[in-house]
Symmetry: C2
């Protein structure tokens, strides 16, 4: 009987190939199978490009399809099918590495894999290797303190627009808004109303080709910001 | 005339020596002077231990004293004095690396250095290398999703106790509580009242010697938790 393998969820960092950890490099190198997930928005080729120098010549690379399905049941079925593919690899005693941009536990497709694996193969050994997130990379790039002393940071999705920012603003000191590529007018208005505008900055494609730092959030309104745009704002 | 040097703020990650990035390794290796800050709580020797294998033989290592002064003016003076020491190194055209556990922009002593440098030497070139934070390491270690889809994460300090958690709970989906070493009874009570208890876990010294995962937060009350204790909680 084969020993059961292990699944690693690996964050390769925010896009700058140097922001990968030693542990991610080692685990990628030891993997028998490398999994990535593709979607229109989440380009798997970038995670793969970062991981590529460390992938063993003997390793197999498999792209899982990322179901962009609104229906929860259908989406869950599709992820279970992906988990089944991974589970078959583990049952052969192999090491599988699912690579993802940023951090596997922070707005990542790996979250869906983890949830599906718990259903499909609850006995699977799973280990997660954390990665640098986009908002940490952005704070570093802009020399902007995310949180200090006893401050509170909220990390929110731009998908809810300005209303959510208004509702949370008085409870927190700093806000990181990921996916700030839509609702930009509404978000900008909310930042101004809550006193977060002055101490804010936007950044697109941080640490990657085509990186842009937008010092005045106003300018976001008249652009068509990239999907990989985030805003860091403080009181 | 000497070329002016550069200051790097470098996150060496949460404590596991493998969770350092390639970029941190390179920049540490290129530095002429390595700075660390010491305090009773923030043991500089751990950051130095992680960085040590990469420090050049020719490099000079300097410990800056971390002023634990409550008086803001006095504290600010002490940090300005530290910035002056760094600024003298930069004026000799040298590369200085200030190393810190976790991420330099997230509850780090580097924030004080950055603020003081802007006053003492506004023309200084400063570059920040992000690091893996304790809460990302903890989420990875516990196989616990930090945030997914359009969820909101609050990162708070345990210093404010349960009241702050109560005030923020209905606005967010997940809470990471750093410095959860005091007010544990009050925090625990707030987690229960707000429906965050069931989906919570505490971890001390994540990825380091003496690491402990505390699955039932109740158990924190009867312990004397380590300074490096954090709680991850979700609805």
């Amino acid at each position: 009987m084969n020993k059961i393998g292990k699944l690693f969820g690996i964050g390769v960092g925010p896009g700058d190939p140097e922001l990968i950890t030693k542990k991610a490099i080692r685990v990628i190198n030891e993997a028998d199978v490398i999994f990535t997930a593709a979607s229109t928005k989440n380009n798997y080729s970038l995670a793969l490009e970062i991981a590529d120098p460390y992938i063993s010549d003997k390793a197999d690379i498999q792209n899982l399809s990322f179901p962009m399905i609104k229906d929860k049941l259908e989406s869950s079925k599709a992820w279970n099918a992906n988990a089944q593919i991974i589970s078959n690899i583990l049952k052969q005693g192999q090491k599988a590495a699912f690579i993802t941009l940023g951090d596997p536990m922070t707005y990542s497709t790996f979250g869906y894999i983890l949830t599906a694996m718990e259903k499909v193969m609850p006995e699977a050994a799973i280990e997660v290797v954390p990665g640098i997130t986009s908002f940490h990379a952005a704070a570093a790039r802009c020399n902007k303190i995310l949180v200090e002393a006893e401050e509170t940071l909220a990390v929110v999705s731009g998908a809810y627009g300005g209303e959510h920012i208004r509702s949370i603003a008085e409870k927190v000191d700093k806000i990181a808004i990921v996916k700030a590529y839509k609702n930009t007018k509404d978000i900008n208005k909310a930042l101004k109303e809550t006193g977060f505008y002055k101490n804010s900055v936007a950044i697109s494609k941080c640490g990657r080709d085509g990186e842009e730092i937008i010092a005045e959030i106003d300018a976001l309104e008249t652009r068509n910001p990239d999907y990989w745009t985030l805003i860091l704002a403080g009181k």
